[in-house]
């Protein structure tokens, strides 16, 4: 058995069935399946089906709500708070961005702060949702402590991802998306899986000494990216997603991967901006594509890429050729599917 290919719609249908069997409600299950399938298609595999085992384990331990009833409270013409009822972040994030887009259609700009939520995958997914409705957007989430303050020694901030999206005339929207830490948590796990040394300067041990051993990263902390700048951005994410939303912040957000006794209690922040409140969409597209042209011409020898462009190429390729799922993940998913008596979309010759 080696890696296997499956197609987007096939994977999506399988995930819905699996989630239903696990006891996840229909609306939430569809949302998580859609999000994970998209992540697989765009090649952000760290946010795809690889995360299923830990989420199922959290549901089995009763610390992730299988059938949440998120509650939205509008607090002004342009703002609102979403209590995620401890549902999947993929789900609460989608609801929140949909609300932010509606608020922006009315007020010009809309913001929804989410509390009582969980890991939300890739911020780019939500930024793309807004972009497909002709809106610019900012997306943030806090997460459990794994990153030091600039000048600090202990983990006090999450990897706190930040995303920004902007629609393009022909689709394939601009999607900026990154962890405000030196490495994303998912990248650390890749080093760990592959037994590779981390580059120096990205993590420090509790003694303040540089840490490059991926085995010791559990007790070590990541640095903010770009020193004081990344630290500042991480604090912005923590304040907007954690403090202001009423969610947990810093050490009151619990680890998705090691704490199966308490809910995660992370928070998100979704901001949508209605372009048409500033200029006609066509004018915006013309101006933006003019900028894209300038960027593309700025290196005669190598192609200059827009943020997100690599993903759209993956999306196209994987939509045609299928999504690759590595052996290890196939085994994990097959085991969970067997347990919940769901047929997998791949045929494995024994």
């Amino acid at each position: 058995m080696s890696e296997i290919r499956t197609y987007g719609p096939e994977l999506d249908a399988y995930l819905r069935d699996l989630f239903k069997a696990v006891g996840i409600g229909r609306a939430q299950g569809a949302s998580v399946a859609r999000n994970m399938t998209w992540s697989e298609l765009v090649g952000r595999k760290n946010f795809g089906v690889i995360r299923i085992p830990v989420h199922v384990k959290r549901i089995e331990h009763g610390v992730l709500n299988a059938i949440p009833k998120p509650k939205f409270s509008q607090t002004a013409v342009g703002t609102g708070i979403l209590d995620g009822d401890n549902g999947f972040g993929y789900f609460t994030g989608e609801l929140a961005m949909e609300r932010a887009v509606k608020l922006a259609a009315e007020a010009g700009i809309g913001m929804v702060a989410v509390n009582n939520s969980n890991f939300f995958g890739t911020g780019a997914y939500f930024a793309d949702l807004a972009a497909r409705k002709g809106m610019l957007s900012l997306v943030m989430s806090n997460s459990f402590p794994k990153v030091v303050a600039h000048g600090g020694l202990k983990s006090v901030l999450g990897t706190n991802p930040f995303a920004f999206g902007a629609p393009r005339a022909e689709g394939n929207n601009l999607l900026v998306d990154f962890a405000t830490s030196s490495l994303a948590g998912s990248t650390v796990r890749q080093y760990l899986d592959q037994g590779k040394q981390l580059p120096e300067g990205l993590a420090i041990g509790p003694d303040g000494e540089p840490e490059t051993d991926p085995e010791k990263i559990g007790k070590a902390s990541l640095m903010p990216f770009g020193g004081a700048k990344g630290y500042g951005l991480s604090l912005m994410v923590e304040i907007l997603s954690g403090i202001l939303s009423g969610a947990g912040f810093s050490n009151s957000v619990n680890s998705t991967y090691s704490n199966f006794k308490e809910k995660s209690n992370s928070g998100h922040c979704m901001i949508a901006i209605d372009i048409e409140k500033f200029m006609p969409l066509e004018e915006y597209y013309g101006r933006f594509e003019s900028l894209v042209g300038i960027l593309k011409l700025s290196n005669p020898e190598n192609e200059v890429l827009l943020p997100g462009e690599v993903r759209w190429k993956s999306y196209e390729y994987n939509s045609e050729h299928g999504i690759t799922i590595p052996e290890k993940i196939i085994a994990d998913l097959t085991a969970i599917s067997d347990k919940y008596k769901i047929e997998c979309p791949w045929l494995v010759a024994g």
Copy 2:
């Protein structure tokens, strides 16, 4: 003659007189004086009086409007556009943030995009304005091309500063503020003035080779900070401040320092968020100070600082001991003051 000390109120009064003599209108002159004095007090001297000669030269060349009439158009409950009428960015930025705060008081979140503007100094100034009204804020400005795209060779983006502010219970608000380039333009000028080599990896020549000679930086380009992440942030700033506002963007923003035939045409973006639309201000302060406590305790040996904290220490020190103005700047200001027949606040024994 060496450096000279002057006090905040004294400097402010002198600047108002000087600006009036140069022909700058009363409202704009007061705004610029206030902003520059603040920058000097907090120790951001690159945004203080050192900039006066170039601004006066721009006014003398008719490419910066001495008596602008900025025009605000509200476009939705939470959004608006400010045409800066080619006034000082310090002035249009202040007007825009005041409007954004008013919009946020109504809609929960408010955004003002500014076009037809100029260099606005430090974004932290505007973030602090909002923080003093109990609001969180994001501040951005585009600027003339000096930075390459990630993977590009030519300057296509400005140093595009980004700022975020958050009020604290006892004042001394959190102020994140940085250029999205590897170095701020003002820092490059410092290397140039001191004849020091630039560290490697911050700038490249038109051939794509690293450039460390500050004398050659005029033809070289800066890199975005943190590679693809800084590039993504810089694009966000360009889209929100330049594309969406109707201002110039990329190479249609003109240099403040070398183009005295055309107006700058830069743009800004001010977003204010009313905390009280999410939770009572007291609750926010309690939560935020709890986070600050965690940050402060995260290194037992060295003080962990909040973004902006160094500035507030400078502010306190300089308010008590006076602002230092170096010899070279004193000479420049004295020459301009003599030309416009204004008495300087310092006594120079010949």
